[in-house]
Amino acid sequence: MLDFIIQQPIIAALVALAGLGILFGALLGFAAEKFKIEGDPVIDQIDELLPQTQCGQCGFPGCRPYAESIADGDEINKCPPGGQSTINAIASLLDVPAPELDQEHGQEAEVKSVAYIREDECIGCTKCIQACPVDAILGAAKLMHTVIVDECTGCDLCVEPCPVDCIDMIPVETGIKQWQWPAPPLPNGLIATDKTHSDSNHEDAA
């Protein structure tokens, strides 16, 4: 063995290299099979960021199909319920510049709204139940339906199929519990004394 290596160094090196190549190739092949990832993980990550209203305003039947389409290179600004914050989040995930929301698909709602059924007008046709993507409407044929408000995503897909127009989208009430501290204005680079006291903010004593 040693004699062969000394006498035929080049062949020995080639053999050794080829052997290593085969060994690592086998290892990699084995690892690729063993640790194979099912599906595309990017789709899951994008789907996590989408608001899951399943409203279809993006033109896809639900959030996951849109996530799949984004992974295939679709625009990321087609989701009005998610708004700019979702666009920013997806942009930072995919490392692409964040565009503005595409107005073609709708506008970002300032206040979230949920569906309410005017119950005495409901005829019990179950059309809205079939339209609801998250099973948030309760009822049966010829019996009154009602919306489970906590489960409603506000997609408004139930409004259009209703034959008696008894579904309203009502903005969610915001009380003291939902109140959020407003962000203070960013420093605008003015010289402090240029500003009068009247327009300085009266919020907090510091």
Binding site: T53, W181, E203
Partner: protein, 572 residues
């Protein structure tokens, strides 16, 4: 002298405490109308159990706690309920919330009350239910329901009880005044707390060294009680729960844990007194000591104020000069908030009403860019990096904010206080905190929606598959039927149809019985027709009628003939 530890950071703002301590705790006349908010504590707002027009007595319960983390609310004086509606309340948002309005009858008549004189012989759970019923919430500022805090459960034995008498914020002297005048009651309250918590090894009262009179008042009462009075150098903010625990014990409360997790309970000294009042006197929490101070008030002092007293009423009795006043602040100058209306009532957590003049606390200068001086980091008592947090807060980078422990920020305002660029740092953090909380809530909701959506998709798919399977089965059956009948020529089809009719045919016995029945019924009909004709001819009926009847008879006879013929044919 017990060892104390020194917290990082902190600031030394002018204390301004002496002006409100020149007089003893005073009392105010009962206001004509009291407005009692239903949400004065952390947790769910209480649920009103009175309605408009009800007469209530002082100390009568007007709202039940909603769930465990909530507190009952009682009428501060006797009178009539005149409204249950949304009113402006003490909240940084300036929003309205549900309140009960009582119009006082001026008699201030107590409901029947009874206290417990020997709490040592009462079970801790009975004492806890008294505290729950009395609606006691932390009076230091946060308003956490006391009965929840005092019930940490078996898994968390308590070995240290800490009484917070720090009162580190400038201007506020409510606890100081309370200790000076009611030390006896406070010590009794500590006894009750200790009994409830199973007599912890260590009972510590933490107090800053700027309250020598209070220390002097407490000292004689703690002789031979095992209570340690620990005074430490004054620094803002030593009164934060985490900070005080570190100062007194040297232990750091891990991020995201509560003191009970490391065997401690920390209670404000005002709460201690309120618990004594509830247990010993049977008086629920309907009044508290509040400091009224600031240059815009001529009189600066502490008052026993009924919960629900409008701020305007308090200020009126302090010779308030609205011209001099820049704004009315609830709480201290560091952590308090400006009030939008003077009709806002005093609540359980109101330790101070500050009405400063413009010179005393000027309006905030506009913020300038950060110069990265690092003074905020030096001032931070929680050892955070305020500057980093500011960048991430402006960039709305929630992930980095959380990894930089934004939620350990106690919002003390020390960073904003030292900032040479007047950046309202705490406001940025508060805003980011509420943003993150909202995002987390939305995440939970969207996960739920995804789950429901996916479940629905699955269900629809399954139903479709089932239908498809049924269709396939039918197709298969049709194919098999074809295979068994072989070629389907016209003759075959006719033969198959004939076979079907043959199968449908009744047996000969049944057929015979049927024909016999037909014959007998036909005979009967002939008989009946004959009878009718006989009676008609016997009587004096018209010709016409007799003709009709004889025709009917002959018809029946024909039918009988036919039936007989068929029977004969069948019998052949």
């Amino acid at each position: 002298m017990r060892q104390t530890w020194v917290t990082p950071g902190g600031v030394h703002p002018p204390e301004n405490k002496e002006q409100s301590l020149t007089q003893p705790i005073g009392s105010l006349p009962i206001p004509e109308k009291l407005v009692i908010p239903l949400g004065q504590h952390i947790g769910a707002p209480a649920i009103a159990c009175v309605k408009v027009g009800d007469k209530v007595l002082k100390g009568q319960k007007i709202a039940d706690p909603a769930g465990t983390v909530s507190a009952a609310i009682h009428a501060p004086t006797s009178g009539t309920i005149t409204a249950v509606e949304a009113r402006p309340v003490a909240h940084s948002s300036g929003m309205n919330a549900l309140c009960v309005e009582i119009t006082s009858d001026g008699e201030d008549q107590w409901v029947d009350k009874s206290g417990i004189s020997d709490f040592e012989h009462t079970s801790p759970s009975a004492l806890l239910s008294i505290i729950t019923e009395a609606g006691i919430a932390g009076m230091g500022g946060a308003g956490f329901p006391a009965s929840v805090k005092l019930n940490p459960g078996f898994q968390r034995p308590i070995d240290t009880l800490i009484i917070n008498a720090t009162e580190c914020e400038p201007y506020i002297t409510a606890d100081d005044a309370l200790i000076r005048e009611r030390a006896q009651g406070i010590i009794e309250g500590i006894g009750i707390l200790s009994h409830i918590l199973g007599n912890p090894n260590d009972i510590l009262i933490g107090i800053e060294d700027n309250k020598p009179e209070a220390i002097e008042a407490l000292t004689p009462h703690i002789q031979d009680t095992g209570i340690n009075l620990v005074s430490f150098p004054t620094k803002y903010p030593s009164g934060g729960e985490k900070q005080l625990i570190y100062i007194l014990t040297g232990k750091e409360l891990p991020s995201g844990q509560i003191p009970a997790d490391i065997g401690m309970v920390c209670v404000n000294i005002g709460t201690t007194f309120a618990i004594k009042q509830a247990v010993v006197e049977g008086e629920p929490l309907i009044a508290r000591v509040t400091t009224v101070t600031g240059e815009a008030c001529e009189v600066n002092r502490n008052y026993d104020v009924l919960i629900g007293t409008p701020i305007a009423h308090v200020l009126k009795h302090n010779k308030f000069n609205s011209q001099r006043c820049s704004r009315v602040i609830m709480g201290g100058p560091m952590m308090g908030f400006s009030l939008t209306s003077k009709q806002i009532p005093i609540v359980k957590t109101t330790n101070c009403i500050l009405a400063p003049s413009v010179e005393e606390i000027p309006h905030n200068e506009p913020a300038q860019p950060c110069i990265r001086c690092g003074m905020c980091a030096e001032a931070c008592p929680a050892s955070l990096l305020p500057q980093q947090l500011l960048w991430y807060s402006q960039a709305k980078d929630h992930e980095r904010l959380q990894s930089h422990n934004l939620f350990d920020c106690i919002e003390c305002g020390a960073c904003s206080y030292v900032c040479p660029s007047n950046i309202p740092l705490v406001q940025h953090y508060r805003s980011s905190k509420s943003d993150i909380k909202k995002a987390q809530e939305e995440k939970v909701k969207s996960d739920q929606a995804r789950e429901r959506f996916e479940f629905r998709q699955q269900r629809i798919e399954l139903a479709e598959k089932e239908r498809e399977a049924k269709r396939a089965a039918r197709r298969e059956a049709a194919k098999q039927a074809k295979a068994t009948t072989g070629t389907d020529s016209m003759a075959d089809i006719v033969a198959a149809a004939q076979a079907r009719t043959a199968a449908k045919k009744t047996s000969p016995e049944q057929e015979l019985a049927k024909l016999e029945r037909a014959v007998s019924s036909a005979e009967m009909r002939v008989q009946k027709a004959q009878d009718k004709l006989d009676t008609a001819t016997a009587g004096s009926e018209t010709e016409e009628k007799i003709n009709i009847l004889s025709a009917a008879l002959s018809g029946a006879q024909q039918k009988l003939e036919k039936a007989k013929a068929r029977l004969a044919e069948h019998s052949k």
